[in-house]
Amino acid sequence: MSQVAQGKGRTGFIAGFLILPLALYLTFVIWPYIQTFGYSFTNWSGQSPTFDFVGLDNYAALMKDEVFRGALWHNLLLLVFVPTVTILLALFFAFMVNAGGRSGAGGVRGVRGSSVYKIVYFFPQVLSLAILAVLFGAVYRSDEGGLLNGFLTKLGLVDPAHPVEWLNQPNLVLWCLLLVVVWHGVGFYLVLFSAAMQSVPKDIYEAALLDGAGRAQTFLKVTLPLLWDSVQTSAVYLGIAAMDMFVLVSTMTSGQFGGGPDHHSEVMATVLMRNFLYFGKSGYACAMGVVMLVLTMILSVVTLRATRRERIEF
């Protein structure tokens, strides 16, 4: 880092360069974040300029709110399954791409066309969630016109007279959404894990192979421990995504801001938006925002702690 002399005029320069970014960031990010805490203790409707301070009433009401509790439960389910399924699949594919090739004198090699796989797999990541919502809305259509029902009918697994109502079945809807998230995420984490695998020095693998380790052993004993840092980071990122889910739920499922059928796909974000924009309960919505923040923080800390291992240097 350059040690630029602290001469005269530097203060002006520094301040000049910081002032605009800082002002924007404070106005639209930091200040609203702080205000949310304040509003969460009020009964503000958002429409009227006046409101009363109600203490912890909003939080007490939240605990009794069946819909919110259901939403919280769904978020927790997603929190377990989204990272687990995505990371396992991504690790599996990353290992295939990087070490699934024929082995020879050059040691373990990747499969042919590995870069093609990486390009194709990553593509969902650049599509907006709105596009995914429309796409999978069509895939999950509850008649033969849906891709999934169409296929299953063709294979004779589904009776054409009674196709599966994927997104309207209370016990299916959440898992259908989960599949979309996994479909979207696997490619990105595959690329991420691949990059991490490639940064592992080749001779570590070669040494393991010379010692007679099989591929499965090499993966479990060598690759995985060396990748642990990225797995950990991924778990946190995916966990944060599982806490959100707003776009998919609100656009793919029935109900005002989604959540249907009968609140079976409700997540905290959709309940928050409905209370804010539809019921006009701004203070109450703010309390939900705070709960989401607290859970996100707990999630990050717990994931980082629970998965902590000795760091391996190479």
């Binding site: 800082l22 924007l24 703010c286």
Partner: protein, 308 residues
């Protein structure tokens, strides 16, 4: 070992099993070979699962509405582009324009302001430097939902609801944490000698930044620029809260993502699904083009940012 096999290609590999095996013969260690076929098989299945729905959707633009409702596996009969032109007229063209207007300002502004802050924080030691840095970067950790309600009223108070300038400023502000974080690490790696030479030549700090440092940081700017383009282009929650017509006479300024969802509702009522599929296809194409032209930088940029 270099047995040259005429590129098996994904097409032959996905049929998997027997054919791949017989081609490669028994020359290699059988462990690797079985695994190779096995890996190609799994990899190809997932590749199909990615590509198939997208192609299916695009083909839907060439079907009739009753065909779409009838059977998913029917082959399109209407090889005309009329659904595309109807989708364009139904608003996709406008939504595109709105998104481009916003991004024409928000992306350059994000890059400029983000780089300025990152540069000062990376290369000028001053009291509170670290504090400012963490302050900027910490924004990336909080869920947007935490800010949503007050943000709406903040923008309302500034009289900027449903205006381009409002959304531009909000996009810039929310892109700041990542941009500062990324450019900060980039500016730190630039050599100091060039900077010192410029100082000796009598260039001012501002001038050094714009004429020396910024051009040198071009690779970093490109990576973070692509990331911001993707992020802002795909943003849904912020525009759906901030870009709603406020009065009956207020014009609609939906972004593309919002517009697609709008189109979905509309076409559900009007039962013209080819238009919806065409609309989504139109929205997908620029992303596909951007991605394929920059896929190396996109993958590298996102990975390095996440692994830090």
């Amino acid at each position: 070992m270099t047995t040259v096999i005429k590129a098996p290609g994904e097409a032959s590999a996905e049929r998997s099993g027997g054919s791949g095996r017989s081609k490669e013969g028994g020359s290699t260690g059988s462990d690797g070979m079985v695994l190779n076929v096995f890996s190609h098989g799994f990899l190809a299945v997932w590749a199909i699962l990615i590509v198939l729905p997208l192609i299916w959707l695009a083909l839907g633009s060439f079907k009739t509405d009753s065909q779409i409702g009838g059977s998913a596996l029917s082959w399109p009969s209407n090889w005309h582009f009329d659904a595309f032109s109807r989708a364009w007229d139904k608003g996709i063209g406008d939504y595109f324009a709105h998104t481009l207007i916003v991004m024409a300002f928000s992306v350059p502004l994000t890059m400029l302001l983000g780089s300025m802050a990152a540069y000062v924080l990376a290369r000028y030691p001053f009291p509170g430097n670290r504090l400012f840095y963490y302050f900027f970067v910490s924004g990336a950790m909080f869920p947007v939902f935490l800010a949503l309600v007050p943000l709406f009223f903040m923008v309302k108070r500034l009289d900027m609801l449903n205006t381009y300038q409002g959304l531009i400023l909000v996009y810039v502000a929310y892109s700041m944490p990542f941009t500062v974080f990324f450019m900060h690490s980039f500016f730190r790696t630039l050599p100091t000698a060039v900077h010192e030479a410029a100082v000796i030549d009598g260039a001012s700090d501002t001038r050094i930044f714009f004429q020396v440092m910024l051009p040198m940081a071009k690779p970093g700017l490109i990576s973070v620029g692509i990331f911001n383009v993707l992020g802002q282009w795909n943003q849904y929650i912020l525009p759906s809260v901030l870009m709603q017509p406020q009065t009956g006479s207020d014009p609609e300024r939906y972004m593309l993502t919002q517009g697609l969802i709008q189109l979905q509702y509309q076409m559900g009522y009007e039962t013209d699904l080819p238009v919806l599929f065409a609309g989504v296809t139109i929205a997908m194409i620029p992303m596909l083009v951007v991605y394929l032209s920059f896929q190396r930088q996109i993958q590298a940029g996102l990975t390095s940012a996440t692994l830090k």
